[in-house]
Symmetry: C2
Subunit: 184 residues, 2 copies
């Protein structure tokens, strides 16, 4: 079975790593979920706030690319971030940074939240989706299509294209289009 990523940090695994009994951890965290969150929060320190110079668009662009780079190798982190950032001090720090930039584009708080949140969610969900695409590449593929190719005419034709998807370019163009629409 072999757990990986944050799934590998369990009460029992960190307890034994610390040379301590699992129950000792309850003195510091109320539950395994809270302990895991603390670990994610720590890792999130590698995510920087947007740069201070440049236009709003370019600052958000740079932040997006830089953040993607950091989270790419830990997509499980991105998933937890998506749901739990308000619980995480570092998550709030990142969101604060995005809001500061957004505030330069509009004075309305609703607009600021829409900009900051959309950009944050875009980067996080792209990282999650890209992970899925990359894993798809390395797997033997489409057993259902192999079994009954008649039902999947188009899929048979384009099957190999899925392995060639350019995630870097798609991320960039998607982000550009998003910022364009958001800050029109």
């Amino acid at each position: 079975m072999m757990r990986e990523g944050v799934d590998a940090v369990t009460m029992r695994s960190v307890a034994s790593a610390c040379g301590v009994t699992p129950m000792a951890i309850y003195s510091y965290y109320d539950s395994s979920a809270e302990m895991r969150r603390a670990g994610v929060d720590f890792s999130l320190r590698r995510v920087r706030t947007p740069p201070f110079e440049g236009s709003v668009v370019s600052r958000l662009q740079h932040w997006g690319h830089a953040t993607r780079k950091v989270l790419r190798r830990r997509p499980d982190l991105a998933a937890i971030c998506l749901t739990d950032w308000p619980e995480l001090p570092e998550g709030c720090r990142v969101m604060e940074g995005l809001l500061v930039v957004a505030a330069e584009h509009t004075a309305e708080s609703a607009g600021q939240v829409q900009i900051a949140n959309t950009v944050f969610v875009y980067v996080l969900t792209r990282v999650i989706a890209e992970r899925a695409m990359v894993e798809r590449r390395t797997r033997p593929n489409l057993p259902a299509v192999a079994a009954t190719p008649r039902r999947f005419a188009r899929l048979v034709d384009v099957q190999s294209e899925f392995k060639r998807l350019d995630v870097d370019r798609d991320f960039a163009t998607g982000l550009d289009a998003l910022l364009d629409g958001l800050l029109r």
Copy 2:
């Protein structure tokens, strides 16, 4: 702890529901992951293929809204779909449907894949992200901000706006912008 959604369908839980020993299930599935996938595949039958009438844009739009409606209440399903659709017969069926529509826009298979995949991924990731936002609404919020409000000036200002995010409108405008950029 209380598992929910697909996490609740475990070897042992379905075994006892079937009045059978956990080991009996290994006669049908090689692992718990495969059994879970079969369950997800079954649920996916509620996702329809795009309609046959209308422009390419409107057909993809309709599909997006309809699919979101189905998956909204089962976001855990969306997450598995994102990574495992090629393994799922029903996942392939849905992708085939999208490719058929995309083929009417361009003859190049690379372009077809980009359109079908982007739309599919958009809907799935939005469903996942929306779940996170909705859960955020019901939770007591931002403990880090409450502890040191000085560090989060903008977040303090706009905090309540996060609970007012209009996920329906954001989904629609995001999809429109995406299709616009994709099929320009």
